[in-house]
């Protein structure tokens, strides 16, 4: 298939439809409105249904119902809306249903702003809803990656019976880039014989549920979920190592920020400074092992569009071996290569 020039949000919608998503339930919020708009326009032509819910809480519960029927379902929102969706996400995780949730992050807390941000890292990777659960989180850095990850997310969701999040920022949603729609590697997906599709008088009733009043039964369920999460940690970690073989200063950045950091790495190398980048592609599971693959590293410098959230995971992965510094802009401010460079100089200067 040839490349087409598309706006990020619309490309996300098209990717979902290409991946077999037939049902989208959502509620408008900037900067992701083109996703529900695209779905409203295109799903009816693709034998699917779009419903605008009365709230994010309702939208995610429609997703919960649709996922329970075994359909490929998706919703999207931006930060304050995702905060509301956390109620449904924990139920979907608890009931082990597949669903895809896209977050085009904006600045917070509260109503915050509408400019790009990465301040939902904690909310995405630490749960956000109640209880013992995890959600795989993909963080695209380009529109092409957003497309690929949305498609992959449906496979991962079905394979593990879990909600999967694709977490980008408003910049990816709003920019236009050339993209190609290639189906991901097909997995051997389990049959959805648990779905509530009517017994037709031929089998025992199916029950979609996350309630376990007996604490022992709930503990068993949580440990079962935990075994699944360990399997995901084992098999689904994704990251990129950029010029890290000889890098003494290793940046850690994801999403849009990683693109800015790549430019900074080039600029530093032009000045003879050996810089490199670890880019987590999955935020959960976090690529802990990447931190064993930086033989020359002397310093780690985390760059985020937040006041510092991923830095916690970097410190865990680094296990105290190297000094970890941080540079962040937040609230919708985007870091410039110049200011990252200044921070880099300060860090390596300080390490000497």
């Amino acid at each position: 298939m040839a490349k087409v020039l598309m706006k990020g949000n619309e490309a996300v919608g098209k990717a979902a439809i290409e991946a077999g998503c037939k049902y989208f339930f959502g509620y408008p919020i900037t900067p992701q409105n083109e996703i529900p708009e695209y779905m409203a326009k295109e799903l009816p032509n693709n034998d699917g249904v779009f419903v605008q819910a009365e709230s994010e809480v309702s939208a995610i519960n429609m997703i919960y119902g649709g996922a329970g029927c075994g359909a490929r379902v998706m919703t999207s929102s931006s930060s304050p809306g995702i905060a509301l969706k956390q109620e449904g996400i924990t139920y979907i995780a608890g009931a082990e249903l597949p669903a895809v949730i896209v977050n085009m992050m904006r600045g917070g807390p509260g109503l915050g702003g509408i400019q790009p941000s990465q301040a939902d890292y904690f909310m995405s990777t630490r749960g956000g809803g109640n209880g013992d659960y995890r959600t795989p989180v993909y963080a695209p850095a380009t529109v092409q990656e957003a497309v690929d990850m949305v498609m992959e997310a449906f496979e991962v969701a079905d394979y593990y019976r879990t909600p999967v999040m694709v977490v980008a920022d408003g910049m990816i949603g709003q920019m236009m880039e050339p993209v190609e729609f290639k189906a991901p590697k097909k997995r051997d997906l389990p049959k959805k014989d648990w779905a509530t599709t009517g017994t037709n008088g031929e089998r025992k009733p199916n029950i979609i549920n996350s309630l376990f009043l007996d604490p022992q039964a709930l503990e068993d369920h949580c440990f079962k979920l935990d075994r699944k999460y360990k399997e995901i940690e084992e098999n689904e970690v994704k990251y990129e190592m950029y010029k890290t073989e000889d890098a003494e200063l290793v940046f850690v950045a994801y999403g849009t920020t990683s693109r800015i950091v790549k430019n900074t790495v080039e600029a530093l190398r032009e000045q003879g400074i050996k810089a490199g980048l670890i880019r987590p592609i999955t935020l959960w599971p976090f690529p802990h092992k990447a931190f064993n693959e930086i033989p020359a590293a002397k310093n780690l410098l985390v760059v985020e569009m937040s006041t510092g959230q991923m830095i916690d995971d970097v410190k865990i992965a680094n296990e105290g071996r190297l000094p970890v510094d941080f540079f962040g802009r937040t609230g919708g401010m985007i870091p410039t290569p110049g200011e990252i460079m200044d921070k880099a100089m300060e860090v390596i200067g300080g390490a000497k």
């Binding site: 519960n61 119902g65 649709g66 139920y91 509530t196 017994t199 009733p205 996350s210």
Partner: protein
């Protein structure tokens, strides 16, 4: 020997956990009988609420989906939109439907969602131990209204059926009670009609069923039926508020 009365196919063999004298059991039975009699059990998907009937998924003999508190109409919307040929119903208490889930029920009705809601109004929060509900009557005691509901402080109880009946999408709205055999029969008729309306693809249907909570009302089951009749029915008048013929 001819069998004159037997358990409906619509219910499983599980023993229910309801308190003695609670009318949740009757309402389960009526709903299950209707699904069985309409011959739609095999294509029914029920949505259980949060409240005393949270375990309804163990009792109805059809596919069931447990929802979070108040969101059953949204979950049912997801199910019905994915499977428009199935019979989808929610079973919800008054705390679930009138309080936390007020938006979900109003908008499911407004969209004319082709689902059926069985709304059990016992004027109190049963499961959590007798706190005030939006349907608690003026002066009625509850653990969070120890001196009785003070309408200056808490407002007047919500008449949900009357509210929903103002919406064009709600094509069948009826309030019934299960306090005596005659009313039980009327309740069954209304529930049946509500499901028929769904099968005819006409829109949203709801049956509000006045129900007892002897445990949290602190009354003997028989006195509870009397209390319902004397206190609830005057405020929550029984009858049909909307039917498809009139909704046209």
């Amino acid at each position: 020997m001819a069998v004159v009365f037997k358990k409906t196919e619509g219910l499983t063999d599980k023993q229910t956990h309801y308190c003695p004298g609670c009318t949740h059991g009757i309402i389960h039975r009526l709903t299950a009988e209707v699904l069985d009699e309409l011959g739609v059990l095999g294509k029914s998907i029920g949505v259980a609420p949060v409240g005393c009937s949270v375990l309804a998924y163990d009792y109805f003999n059809c596919d069931m989906h447990e929802a979070s508190h108040g969101r059953a109409p949204a979950v049912a919307t997801g199910i019905k939109r994915v499977q428009p040929d199935k019979v989808v119903f929610t079973y919800q208490g008054d705390g679930d439907l009138c309080s936390i889930g007020a938006a979900e029920i109003v908008h499911a009705a407004a969209r004319g969602e082709k689902i059926t809601t069985i709304f059990v109004n016992n004027a109190i929060y049963g499961m959590t131990g007798g706190q005030m509900a939006p349907t608690t009557l003026p002066g009625q005691k509850a653990t969070t209204a120890p001196l009785g509901r003070d309408v200056d402080h808490a407002g007047m109880p919500i008449r949900m059926s009357e509210m929903l009946a103002t919406l064009d999408g709600a094509v069948f709205v009826e309030r019934v009670s299960v306090n005596n055999p005659a009313n039980v029969r009327k309740a069954k008729k209304a529930i049946k009609r509500a499901f028929e309306v769904q099968l005819e693809g006409k829109g949203f249907g709801i049956v509000e069923v006045l129900s007892t909570c002897p445990t949290n009302w602190g009354l003997h089951p028989v006195d509870s039926l009397k209390w319902l009749e004397e206190n609830m029915i005057p405020y929550y008048q029984l009858g049909n508020l909307r039917n498809p013929e009139e909704a046209k």
